[in-house]
Protein backbone atom coordinates (compact mmCIF):
# COMPACT_ATOMS: atom_id res chain seq x y z
CA UNK A 1 0.00 0.00 0.00
CA UNK A 2 2.83 2.29 0.89
CA UNK A 3 4.58 1.48 -2.43
CA UNK A 4 1.36 2.22 -4.36
CA UNK A 5 1.11 5.58 -2.65
CA UNK A 6 4.70 6.41 -3.60
CA UNK A 7 4.09 5.39 -7.23
CA UNK A 8 0.99 7.61 -7.41
CA UNK A 9 2.96 10.51 -5.99
CA UNK A 10 5.76 9.92 -8.53
CA UNK A 11 3.31 9.81 -11.44
CA UNK A 12 1.62 12.99 -10.23
CA UNK A 13 4.99 14.74 -10.04
CA UNK A 14 5.92 13.64 -13.58
CA UNK A 15 2.54 14.76 -14.90
CA UNK A 16 2.86 18.08 -13.11
CA UNK A 17 6.29 18.80 -14.53
CA UNK A 18 5.13 17.83 -18.00
CA UNK A 19 2.21 20.24 -17.73
CA UNK A 20 4.52 23.08 -16.73
CA UNK A 21 6.87 22.59 -19.73
CA UNK A 22 5.98 24.20 -23.06
CA UNK A 23 4.79 21.95 -25.85
CA UNK A 24 6.95 22.04 -28.97
CA UNK A 25 5.97 20.77 -32.40
CA UNK A 26 8.07 20.64 -35.53
CA UNK A 27 6.27 20.44 -38.86
CA UNK A 28 7.98 19.94 -42.19
CA UNK A 29 6.22 20.73 -45.45
CA UNK A 30 7.55 20.61 -49.00
CA UNK A 31 5.95 22.18 -52.03
CA UNK A 32 6.85 21.60 -55.66
CA UNK A 33 5.47 23.80 -58.43
CA UNK A 34 3.18 22.50 -61.14
CA UNK A 35 5.16 21.06 -64.03
CA UNK A 36 6.29 23.75 -66.42
CA UNK A 37 5.98 26.55 -63.86
CA UNK A 38 8.42 27.91 -61.33
CA UNK A 39 8.17 29.68 -58.02
CA UNK A 40 8.79 33.36 -58.77
CA UNK A 41 7.91 34.94 -55.45
CA UNK A 42 7.56 34.04 -51.82
CA UNK A 43 5.39 36.14 -49.51
CA UNK A 44 5.87 35.36 -45.82
CA UNK A 45 3.91 36.88 -42.96
CA UNK A 46 4.91 35.60 -39.53
CA UNK A 47 3.98 37.86 -36.61
CA UNK A 48 4.70 35.14 -34.07
CA UNK A 49 8.46 34.61 -34.34
CA UNK A 50 11.55 34.50 -36.55
CA UNK A 51 11.89 33.83 -40.26
CA UNK A 52 14.98 32.37 -41.87
CA UNK A 53 15.13 31.88 -45.62
CA UNK A 54 17.92 30.17 -47.52
CA UNK A 55 18.25 29.95 -51.25
CA UNK A 56 18.35 26.48 -52.73
CA UNK A 57 19.23 25.14 -56.17
CA UNK A 58 16.07 23.01 -56.36
CA UNK A 59 12.78 24.54 -57.54
CA UNK A 60 11.07 23.44 -54.34
CA UNK A 61 9.95 25.21 -51.20
CA UNK A 62 10.54 23.38 -47.96
CA UNK A 63 9.29 24.78 -44.68
CA UNK A 64 10.20 23.77 -41.18
CA UNK A 65 7.79 25.34 -38.70
CA UNK A 66 8.74 25.10 -35.03
CA UNK A 67 5.72 25.86 -32.85
CA UNK A 68 5.81 26.44 -29.12
CA UNK A 69 2.82 26.74 -26.82
CA UNK A 70 2.11 26.36 -23.11
CA UNK A 71 -0.17 23.35 -23.70
CA UNK A 72 -1.42 21.10 -26.49
CA UNK A 73 -4.75 22.92 -26.82
CA UNK A 74 -3.01 26.20 -27.50
CA UNK A 75 -0.58 24.44 -29.82
CA UNK A 76 -3.57 23.31 -31.89
CA UNK A 77 -4.48 26.97 -32.35
CA UNK A 78 -1.10 27.83 -33.87
CA UNK A 79 -1.47 27.51 -37.63
CA UNK A 80 0.86 27.81 -40.58
CA UNK A 81 -0.83 28.17 -43.94
CA UNK A 82 0.75 27.70 -47.31
CA UNK A 83 -1.15 29.01 -50.31
CA UNK A 84 0.41 28.39 -53.72
CA UNK A 85 -1.05 30.59 -56.39
CA UNK A 86 -0.37 29.24 -59.91
CA UNK A 87 -0.26 32.76 -61.34
CA UNK A 88 1.33 34.55 -58.41
CA UNK A 89 3.41 34.19 -55.31
CA UNK A 90 3.46 31.41 -52.80
CA UNK A 91 2.09 32.81 -49.56
CA UNK A 92 3.13 31.47 -46.17
CA UNK A 93 1.43 32.93 -43.12
CA UNK A 94 1.05 32.09 -39.48
CA UNK A 95 -1.77 32.75 -37.05
CA UNK A 96 -2.96 32.14 -33.53
CA UNK A 97 -6.59 31.16 -34.00
CA UNK A 98 -9.24 32.25 -31.53
CA UNK A 99 -9.89 29.70 -28.78
CA UNK A 100 -13.24 28.34 -27.62
CA UNK A 101 -12.64 29.32 -24.03
CA UNK A 102 -11.78 32.72 -22.62
CA UNK A 103 -8.66 31.49 -20.80
CA UNK A 104 -5.86 33.98 -21.52
CA UNK A 105 -2.54 32.78 -22.94
CA UNK A 106 0.50 33.64 -20.81
CA UNK A 107 2.74 36.31 -22.30
CA UNK A 108 5.70 35.02 -24.29
CA UNK A 109 4.45 31.44 -24.31
CA UNK A 110 3.42 31.09 -27.96
CA UNK A 111 5.80 31.22 -30.86
CA UNK A 112 6.27 30.02 -34.42
CA UNK A 113 9.69 30.11 -36.06
CA UNK A 114 9.95 29.40 -39.78
CA UNK A 115 13.00 28.00 -41.53
CA UNK A 116 12.43 28.05 -45.26
CA UNK A 117 14.41 26.81 -48.22
CA UNK A 118 13.34 28.43 -51.44
CA UNK A 119 14.60 28.55 -55.04
CA UNK A 120 17.39 31.10 -55.36
CA UNK A 121 15.53 32.78 -58.21
CA UNK A 122 12.49 33.58 -56.06
CA UNK A 123 11.93 37.13 -54.88
CA UNK A 124 11.10 37.27 -51.20
CA UNK A 125 8.81 39.48 -49.18
CA UNK A 126 8.76 38.86 -45.41
CA UNK A 127 7.20 40.57 -42.42
CA UNK A 128 7.69 39.80 -38.75
CA UNK A 129 6.47 41.57 -35.62
CA UNK A 130 8.88 40.81 -32.81
CA UNK A 131 11.44 38.52 -34.35
CA UNK A 132 14.43 38.27 -36.59
CA UNK A 133 14.56 37.95 -40.35
CA UNK A 134 17.62 36.32 -41.91
CA UNK A 135 17.98 35.64 -45.61
CA UNK A 136 20.88 34.05 -47.42
CA UNK A 137 21.77 32.95 -50.92
CA UNK A 138 18.97 34.57 -52.92
CA UNK A 139 19.23 36.12 -56.38
CA UNK A 140 16.06 38.14 -56.93
CA UNK A 141 16.09 40.61 -54.08
CA UNK A 142 13.91 40.94 -51.02
CA UNK A 143 11.56 43.23 -49.16
CA UNK A 144 11.84 42.71 -45.42
CA UNK A 145 10.04 44.35 -42.50
CA UNK A 146 10.64 43.68 -38.81
CA UNK A 147 8.84 45.96 -36.37
CA UNK A 148 10.98 44.86 -33.44
CA UNK A 149 13.87 42.66 -34.49
CA UNK A 150 17.08 42.43 -36.45
CA UNK A 151 17.41 41.90 -40.18
CA UNK A 152 20.36 39.99 -41.64
CA UNK A 153 20.97 39.83 -45.37
CA UNK A 154 23.84 37.71 -46.68
CA UNK A 155 24.88 36.71 -50.20
CA UNK A 156 21.89 38.27 -51.89
CA UNK A 157 21.58 39.82 -55.36
CA UNK A 158 18.88 42.19 -56.60
CA UNK A 159 17.05 45.03 -54.95
CA UNK A 160 16.84 44.68 -51.20
CA UNK A 161 14.55 46.87 -49.14
CA UNK A 162 14.51 46.62 -45.34
CA UNK A 163 12.66 48.39 -42.57
CA UNK A 164 12.81 48.10 -38.80
CA UNK A 165 11.30 50.19 -36.07
CA UNK A 166 13.68 48.76 -33.51
CA UNK A 167 16.52 46.49 -34.57
CA UNK A 168 19.81 46.37 -36.41
CA UNK A 169 20.45 45.66 -40.09
CA UNK A 170 23.37 43.62 -41.37
CA UNK A 171 24.22 43.39 -45.05
CA UNK A 172 27.08 41.16 -46.13
CA UNK A 173 27.97 40.40 -49.76
CA UNK A 174 24.99 42.10 -51.30
CA UNK A 175 25.02 42.83 -55.03
CA UNK A 176 22.25 45.21 -55.98
CA UNK A 177 20.36 48.23 -54.72
CA UNK A 178 19.82 48.61 -51.00
CA UNK A 179 17.13 50.69 -49.37
CA UNK A 180 17.25 50.50 -45.57
CA UNK A 181 15.18 52.30 -42.93
CA UNK A 182 15.63 52.08 -39.18
CA UNK A 183 14.00 54.18 -36.52
CA UNK A 184 16.24 52.80 -33.79
CA UNK A 185 19.09 50.48 -34.72
CA UNK A 186 22.52 50.24 -36.29
CA UNK A 187 23.31 49.47 -39.89
CA UNK A 188 26.33 47.37 -40.82
CA UNK A 189 27.40 46.88 -44.44
CA UNK A 190 30.25 44.70 -45.64
CA UNK A 191 31.04 44.03 -49.29
CA UNK A 192 28.25 45.80 -51.09
CA UNK A 193 28.31 46.34 -54.84
CA UNK A 194 25.59 48.03 -56.80
CA UNK A 195 24.08 51.14 -58.28
CA UNK A 196 22.40 52.50 -55.20
CA UNK A 197 22.59 52.43 -51.44
CA UNK A 198 20.05 54.52 -49.55
CA UNK A 199 19.68 54.45 -45.80
CA UNK A 200 17.69 56.52 -43.35
CA UNK A 201 18.46 55.88 -39.69
CA UNK A 202 16.96 57.98 -36.98
CA UNK A 203 19.01 56.76 -34.04
CA UNK A 204 21.95 54.44 -34.66
CA UNK A 205 25.36 54.16 -36.23
CA UNK A 206 26.11 53.27 -39.83
CA UNK A 207 29.29 51.37 -40.62
CA UNK A 208 30.22 50.32 -44.14
CA UNK A 209 33.27 48.41 -45.33
CA UNK A 210 34.36 47.45 -48.81
CA UNK A 211 31.59 49.38 -50.52
CA UNK A 212 31.58 49.89 -54.27
CA UNK A 213 28.38 51.69 -55.08
CA UNK A 214 27.62 54.39 -57.67
CA UNK A 215 25.14 56.41 -55.61
CA UNK A 216 25.06 56.49 -51.84
CA UNK A 217 22.62 58.46 -49.74
CA UNK A 218 22.83 57.99 -45.98
CA UNK A 219 21.01 60.17 -43.47
CA UNK A 220 21.28 59.71 -39.72
CA UNK A 221 19.65 61.96 -37.15
CA UNK A 222 21.65 60.79 -34.15
CA UNK A 223 24.68 58.59 -34.75
CA UNK A 224 28.01 58.36 -36.52
CA UNK A 225 28.61 57.27 -40.09
CA UNK A 226 31.85 55.49 -41.01
CA UNK A 227 32.12 54.44 -44.63
CA UNK A 228 35.09 52.80 -46.32
CA UNK A 229 35.21 51.87 -49.96
CA UNK A 230 35.77 53.00 -53.51
CA UNK A 231 34.35 56.15 -55.00
CA UNK A 232 33.36 55.58 -58.63
CA UNK A 233 33.70 57.96 -61.57
CA UNK A 234 30.50 59.97 -61.86
CA UNK A 235 29.27 58.69 -58.50
CA UNK A 236 27.21 60.71 -56.02
CA UNK A 237 27.77 60.30 -52.31
CA UNK A 238 25.52 62.19 -49.92
CA UNK A 239 26.27 61.33 -46.34
CA UNK A 240 24.80 63.30 -43.47
CA UNK A 241 24.41 63.02 -39.75
CA UNK A 242 22.63 65.74 -37.86
CA UNK A 243 24.21 64.82 -34.55
CA UNK A 244 27.30 62.69 -35.20
CA UNK A 245 30.61 62.31 -36.97
CA UNK A 246 30.96 61.50 -40.64
CA UNK A 247 34.03 59.58 -41.73
CA UNK A 248 34.71 58.55 -45.32
CA UNK A 249 37.75 56.47 -46.24
CA UNK A 250 38.47 56.14 -49.93
CA UNK A 251 40.51 53.49 -51.65
CA UNK A 252 40.74 54.84 -55.20
CA UNK A 253 42.22 58.19 -56.11
CA UNK A 254 39.88 59.36 -58.88
CA UNK A 255 38.86 62.94 -59.73
CA UNK A 256 36.60 64.10 -56.96
CA UNK A 257 34.68 67.14 -55.74
CA UNK A 258 33.76 67.61 -52.12
CA UNK A 259 31.27 69.88 -50.44
CA UNK A 260 31.40 69.41 -46.68
CA UNK A 261 29.66 71.31 -43.94
CA UNK A 262 30.27 70.85 -40.22
CA UNK A 263 28.42 73.69 -38.57
CA UNK A 264 29.74 72.90 -35.10
CA UNK A 265 32.87 70.89 -35.76
CA UNK A 266 35.73 70.44 -38.17
CA UNK A 267 36.36 69.18 -41.68
CA UNK A 268 39.56 67.26 -42.39
CA UNK A 269 40.57 66.46 -45.98
CA UNK A 270 43.62 64.65 -47.37
CA UNK A 271 46.36 67.01 -48.47
CA UNK A 272 45.90 66.06 -52.15
CA UNK A 273 42.63 68.07 -52.16
CA UNK A 274 42.64 71.74 -53.10
CA UNK A 275 40.79 73.07 -50.11
CA UNK A 276 38.68 76.23 -49.75
CA UNK A 277 37.21 77.24 -46.41
CA UNK A 278 33.98 79.23 -46.63
CA UNK A 279 31.60 80.72 -44.06
CA UNK A 280 29.22 78.56 -42.03
CA UNK A 281 31.69 75.72 -41.58
CA UNK A 282 31.56 74.90 -45.30
CA UNK A 283 34.63 73.44 -46.93
CA UNK A 284 34.91 72.71 -50.62
CA UNK A 285 37.68 70.77 -52.23
CA UNK A 286 38.62 68.97 -55.37
CA UNK A 287 41.31 66.66 -56.55
CA UNK A 288 42.40 65.26 -59.88
CA UNK A 289 41.32 66.31 -63.34
CA UNK A 290 38.99 64.69 -65.79
CA UNK A 291 35.37 64.37 -66.74
CA UNK A 292 32.66 63.15 -64.37
CA UNK A 293 34.36 63.53 -61.02
CA UNK A 294 32.75 61.77 -58.09
CA UNK A 295 30.67 64.16 -55.98
CA UNK A 296 30.83 63.94 -52.21
CA UNK A 297 28.29 65.91 -50.18
CA UNK A 298 29.03 65.47 -46.49
CA UNK A 299 27.14 67.17 -43.69
CA UNK A 300 26.90 67.28 -39.96
CA UNK A 301 25.30 69.79 -37.64
CA UNK A 302 27.33 68.77 -34.59
CA UNK A 303 30.28 66.54 -35.37
CA UNK A 304 33.52 66.10 -37.26
CA UNK A 305 33.83 65.30 -40.94
CA UNK A 306 36.89 63.32 -41.92
CA UNK A 307 37.84 62.26 -45.42
CA UNK A 308 40.86 60.02 -45.56
CA UNK A 309 42.71 57.77 -47.97
CA UNK A 310 43.60 54.22 -47.22
Amino acid sequence: MRRLGLAVLLLAAVAGSAAADPVVERDVVELSPVKGQHIGKLDIDNRLGDVRIEGDDRDVISIIAVKRAPDSETLERLKVSLVPDPSGPVTISTALLAGKEARPIPAGSVRIDLIIKAPRSAAVEARVWKGRIAIKGLDAGAELTAVDGDIDVEQVSGAVSTETNHGSHTFAQVFGAIDAHATEGDLDLDVVRGDRLAAVVHEGHVVGRRLRVKDISIRVTRGDVDIAGEALVGGHYQIASYWGNVQVRLARKIPMRIHAQARVGLVTLPTRFRRHDLDGGIVTGDTGTGHSPADLDLRTRVGIITVADF
Binding site: D45, R47, L96, P104, I105, P106, A107, G108, S109, V110, R127, W129, K130, T145, V147, D148, E163, N165, H166, H181, T183, E184, V200, H202, E203, S217, R219, V220, T221, Q238, A240, S241, Y242, W243, V264, G265, L266, T268, R299, V302, G303, I304
Partner: protein
Amino acid sequence: MRCADVERLVTEYVDGDLDERRSSALRGHLRVCAACAARVEDEVAVRETAGSLAPLEPPSDMWSAIDAKLAEAEIADARRSRIWLWWQRALDGVRRHPLPVGLCGAAACAVIAVWLVRGGEQSATHPHHQLAEVSPEVKPSTPSAPVESGDPCDTVATHDEQTLCQMQAADRRYLDAIAELTQVIAEERAGWPAAQAARFDAAVAELDRAAGDELKRLAVVPPPPAVAGRDPLYSIYQKKIDLLSRAAVGGSP
Protein backbone atom coordinates in the same frame (compact mmCIF):
# COMPACT_ATOMS: atom_id res chain seq x y z
CA MET B 1 60.18 83.43 9.15
CA ARG B 2 61.16 79.77 9.03
CA CYS B 3 62.72 77.58 6.33
CA ALA B 4 59.30 76.10 5.45
CA ASP B 5 57.97 79.62 4.78
CA VAL B 6 60.91 80.29 2.44
CA GLU B 7 60.17 77.06 0.54
CA ARG B 8 56.57 78.16 0.10
CA LEU B 9 57.39 81.72 -1.01
CA VAL B 10 60.54 81.20 -3.06
CA THR B 11 58.81 81.13 -6.45
CA GLU B 12 56.86 84.31 -5.82
CA TYR B 13 60.03 85.96 -4.48
CA VAL B 14 62.15 85.08 -7.53
CA ASP B 15 59.32 86.15 -9.86
CA GLY B 16 59.12 89.48 -8.03
CA ASP B 17 55.51 88.87 -7.10
CA LEU B 18 56.04 88.88 -3.32
CA ASP B 19 55.01 92.01 -1.43
CA GLU B 20 57.72 94.22 0.10
CA ARG B 21 57.13 93.33 3.76
CA ARG B 22 57.37 89.56 3.22
CA SER B 23 60.31 90.06 0.82
CA SER B 24 62.12 91.96 3.56
CA ALA B 25 61.46 89.17 6.07
CA LEU B 26 62.62 86.54 3.56
CA ARG B 27 65.84 88.46 2.83
CA GLY B 28 66.44 88.72 6.58
CA HIS B 29 66.10 84.92 6.90
CA LEU B 30 68.49 84.33 4.01
CA ARG B 31 71.15 86.40 5.84
CA VAL B 32 71.13 83.95 8.75
CA CYS B 33 70.30 80.65 6.94
CA ALA B 34 72.88 79.36 4.44
CA ALA B 35 70.66 76.42 3.26
CA CYS B 36 67.77 78.70 2.30
CA ALA B 37 70.18 81.16 0.65
CA ALA B 38 71.54 78.30 -1.48
CA ARG B 39 67.95 77.19 -2.32
CA VAL B 40 67.05 80.69 -3.56
CA GLU B 41 70.29 80.95 -5.55
CA ASP B 42 69.48 77.67 -7.27
CA GLU B 43 66.02 78.91 -8.19
CA VAL B 44 67.46 82.13 -9.63
CA ALA B 45 70.01 80.16 -11.66
CA VAL B 46 67.30 77.92 -13.14
CA ARG B 47 65.27 80.96 -14.16
CA GLU B 48 68.25 82.63 -15.80
CA THR B 49 69.17 79.48 -17.72
CA ALA B 50 65.61 79.01 -18.94
CA GLY B 51 65.45 82.64 -19.99
CA SER B 52 68.61 82.37 -22.08
CA LEU B 53 67.31 79.43 -24.18
CA ALA B 54 66.26 80.16 -27.76
CA PRO B 55 62.45 80.13 -28.26
CA LEU B 56 61.18 76.74 -29.46
CA GLU B 57 58.89 76.87 -32.48
CA PRO B 58 56.04 74.36 -32.25
CA PRO B 59 55.40 72.13 -35.28
CA SER B 60 53.08 73.74 -37.79
CA ASP B 61 50.34 71.13 -37.35
CA MET B 62 50.33 71.33 -33.55
CA TRP B 63 47.68 74.04 -33.31
CA SER B 64 45.37 72.31 -35.78
CA ALA B 65 45.77 69.06 -33.83
CA ILE B 66 44.98 70.88 -30.57
CA ASP B 67 42.05 72.57 -32.25
CA ALA B 68 40.77 69.20 -33.50
CA LYS B 69 41.08 67.64 -30.03
CA LEU B 70 39.38 70.67 -28.51
CA ALA B 71 36.53 70.46 -31.02
CA GLU B 72 36.18 66.73 -30.34
CA ALA B 73 36.01 67.35 -26.59
CA GLU B 74 33.53 70.19 -26.99
CA ILE B 75 31.35 68.11 -29.29
CA ALA B 76 31.46 65.24 -26.81
CA ASP B 77 30.33 67.69 -24.12
CA ALA B 78 27.58 68.98 -26.39
CA ARG B 79 26.27 65.44 -26.76
CA ARG B 80 26.00 64.84 -23.06
CA SER B 81 22.57 64.47 -21.53
CA ARG B 82 20.60 67.24 -19.88
CA ILE B 83 21.21 65.56 -16.53
CA TRP B 84 24.93 66.18 -17.03
CA LEU B 85 24.24 69.86 -17.75
CA TRP B 86 22.07 70.17 -14.66
CA TRP B 87 24.76 68.49 -12.60
CA GLN B 88 27.38 70.93 -13.92
CA ARG B 89 25.08 73.82 -13.12
CA ALA B 90 24.60 72.47 -9.59
CA LEU B 91 28.39 72.13 -9.12
CA ASP B 92 28.84 75.66 -10.41
CA GLY B 93 26.29 76.86 -7.84
CA VAL B 94 28.20 75.07 -5.08
CA ARG B 95 31.46 76.68 -6.18
CA ARG B 96 29.91 80.15 -6.24
CA HIS B 97 27.95 79.91 -2.98
CA PRO B 98 29.76 77.38 -0.80
CA LEU B 99 28.43 78.68 2.53
CA PRO B 100 24.64 78.60 1.88
CA VAL B 101 24.95 75.29 0.01
CA GLY B 102 27.04 73.82 2.84
CA LEU B 103 24.45 74.93 5.41
CA CYS B 104 21.60 73.43 3.33
CA GLY B 105 23.57 70.17 2.99
CA ALA B 106 24.21 70.00 6.72
CA ALA B 107 20.51 70.61 7.41
CA ALA B 108 19.53 67.86 4.95
CA CYS B 109 21.97 65.44 6.60
CA ALA B 110 20.48 66.28 10.00
CA VAL B 111 16.92 65.64 8.71
CA ILE B 112 18.00 62.28 7.20
CA ALA B 113 19.75 61.28 10.43
CA VAL B 114 16.62 62.09 12.49
CA TRP B 115 14.43 60.17 10.03
CA LEU B 116 16.72 57.12 10.16
CA VAL B 117 16.81 57.14 13.96
CA ARG B 118 13.01 57.43 14.19
CA GLY B 119 12.54 54.73 11.53
CA GLY B 120 14.76 52.42 13.55
CA GLU B 121 12.71 53.07 16.66
CA GLN B 122 9.43 52.35 14.81
CA SER B 123 10.70 49.05 13.35
CA ALA B 124 11.86 48.05 16.83
CA THR B 125 8.30 48.55 18.13
CA HIS B 126 6.82 46.50 15.23
CA PRO B 127 9.04 43.42 15.02
CA HIS B 128 6.54 41.38 12.96
CA HIS B 129 7.26 43.53 9.86
CA GLN B 130 10.84 42.39 9.87
CA LEU B 131 9.84 38.77 10.47
CA ALA B 132 7.52 38.85 7.46
CA GLU B 133 10.38 40.00 5.23
CA VAL B 134 12.74 37.18 6.18
CA SER B 135 10.16 34.44 6.66
CA PRO B 136 10.77 31.46 4.33
CA GLU B 137 6.99 31.12 4.02
CA VAL B 138 6.78 34.28 1.91
CA LYS B 139 6.70 33.37 -1.77
CA PRO B 140 6.50 35.56 -4.88
CA SER B 141 2.95 36.13 -6.07
CA THR B 142 3.82 35.24 -9.68
CA PRO B 143 6.10 32.21 -9.61
CA SER B 144 6.07 31.83 -13.39
CA ALA B 145 7.08 35.42 -14.10
CA PRO B 146 9.24 35.69 -17.23
CA VAL B 147 12.99 36.18 -16.97
CA GLU B 148 14.04 39.84 -16.80
CA SER B 149 15.09 41.00 -20.26
CA GLY B 150 14.85 44.75 -19.84
CA ASP B 151 11.83 44.88 -22.12
CA PRO B 152 8.85 46.21 -20.14
CA CYS B 153 6.51 44.21 -22.40
CA ASP B 154 8.02 40.98 -21.02
CA THR B 155 6.61 41.72 -17.59
CA VAL B 156 2.91 41.72 -18.51
CA ALA B 157 0.78 38.67 -17.81
CA THR B 158 -1.01 37.68 -21.02
CA HIS B 159 -0.24 37.35 -24.71
CA ASP B 160 -2.82 40.01 -25.65
CA GLU B 161 -1.48 42.47 -23.09
CA GLN B 162 2.03 41.85 -24.40
CA THR B 163 0.97 42.46 -27.99
CA LEU B 164 -0.77 45.67 -26.97
CA CYS B 165 2.32 46.78 -25.03
CA GLN B 166 4.55 46.08 -28.05
CA MET B 167 2.21 48.06 -30.30
CA GLN B 168 2.35 51.01 -27.94
CA ALA B 169 6.15 50.79 -27.78
CA ALA B 170 6.42 50.75 -31.59
CA ASP B 171 3.97 53.67 -31.87
CA ARG B 172 5.98 55.62 -29.32
CA ARG B 173 9.28 55.06 -31.15
CA TYR B 174 7.82 56.29 -34.44
CA LEU B 175 6.16 59.30 -32.81
CA ASP B 176 9.27 60.21 -30.79
CA ALA B 177 11.37 60.18 -33.96
CA ILE B 178 8.80 62.34 -35.76
CA ALA B 179 8.66 64.78 -32.82
CA GLU B 180 12.45 65.08 -32.66
CA LEU B 181 12.79 65.68 -36.40
CA THR B 182 9.94 68.19 -36.32
CA GLN B 183 11.76 70.10 -33.60
CA VAL B 184 14.97 70.13 -35.64
CA ILE B 185 13.06 71.45 -38.66
CA ALA B 186 11.48 74.22 -36.56
CA GLU B 187 15.03 75.46 -35.88
CA GLU B 188 16.26 75.02 -39.46
CA ARG B 189 13.40 76.25 -41.61
CA ALA B 190 14.08 79.97 -41.10
CA GLY B 191 16.49 79.81 -44.04
CA TRP B 192 14.20 77.93 -46.43
CA PRO B 193 12.75 79.60 -49.53
CA ALA B 194 9.01 80.27 -49.05
CA ALA B 195 7.91 78.08 -51.97
CA GLN B 196 9.89 75.10 -50.76
CA ALA B 197 8.59 75.55 -47.20
CA ALA B 198 5.01 75.62 -48.51
CA ARG B 199 5.53 72.44 -50.54
CA PHE B 200 7.08 70.76 -47.52
CA ASP B 201 4.18 71.80 -45.25
CA ALA B 202 1.66 70.48 -47.78
CA ALA B 203 3.43 67.12 -47.96
CA VAL B 204 3.51 66.86 -44.15
CA ALA B 205 -0.18 67.80 -43.91
CA GLU B 206 -1.06 65.10 -46.45
CA LEU B 207 0.75 62.44 -44.41
CA ASP B 208 -0.83 63.71 -41.17
CA ARG B 209 -4.25 63.42 -42.77
CA ALA B 210 -3.54 59.86 -43.90
CA ALA B 211 -2.27 58.92 -40.41
CA GLY B 212 -5.37 60.46 -38.83
CA ASP B 213 -7.67 58.44 -41.10
CA GLU B 214 -5.76 55.27 -40.28
CA LEU B 215 -5.94 55.92 -36.54
CA LYS B 216 -9.71 56.43 -36.83
CA ARG B 217 -10.01 53.09 -38.61
CA LEU B 218 -7.90 51.33 -35.96
CA ALA B 219 -9.93 52.89 -33.14
CA VAL B 220 -13.02 50.90 -34.13
CA VAL B 221 -11.26 47.56 -34.63
CA PRO B 222 -12.47 45.19 -31.89
CA PRO B 223 -9.94 43.36 -29.67
CA PRO B 224 -7.83 41.28 -29.58
CA PRO B 225 -5.12 43.49 -31.02
CA ALA B 226 -4.03 42.46 -34.53
CA VAL B 227 -0.49 43.57 -35.28
CA ALA B 228 -0.84 43.25 -39.04
CA GLY B 229 -3.55 45.91 -38.91
CA ARG B 230 -0.93 48.49 -38.03
CA ASP B 231 1.11 48.00 -41.23
CA PRO B 232 -0.55 50.89 -43.12
CA LEU B 233 -0.10 53.26 -40.16
CA TYR B 234 3.57 52.37 -39.76
CA SER B 235 4.10 52.78 -43.48
CA ILE B 236 2.76 56.34 -43.21
CA TYR B 237 4.93 57.07 -40.17
CA GLN B 238 7.99 55.79 -42.05
CA LYS B 239 7.20 58.03 -45.03
CA LYS B 240 6.91 60.98 -42.70
CA ILE B 241 10.25 60.18 -41.04
CA ASP B 242 11.85 59.99 -44.52
CA LEU B 243 10.38 63.34 -45.50
CA LEU B 244 11.43 65.04 -42.26
CA SER B 245 14.88 63.44 -42.36
CA ARG B 246 15.47 64.70 -45.90
CA ALA B 247 14.65 68.24 -44.76
CA ALA B 248 16.33 68.17 -41.35
CA VAL B 249 19.42 66.08 -41.98
CA GLY B 250 19.85 66.17 -45.75
CA GLY B 251 19.25 69.92 -45.89
CA SER B 252 16.76 69.84 -48.78
CA PRO B 253 13.07 70.33 -47.94
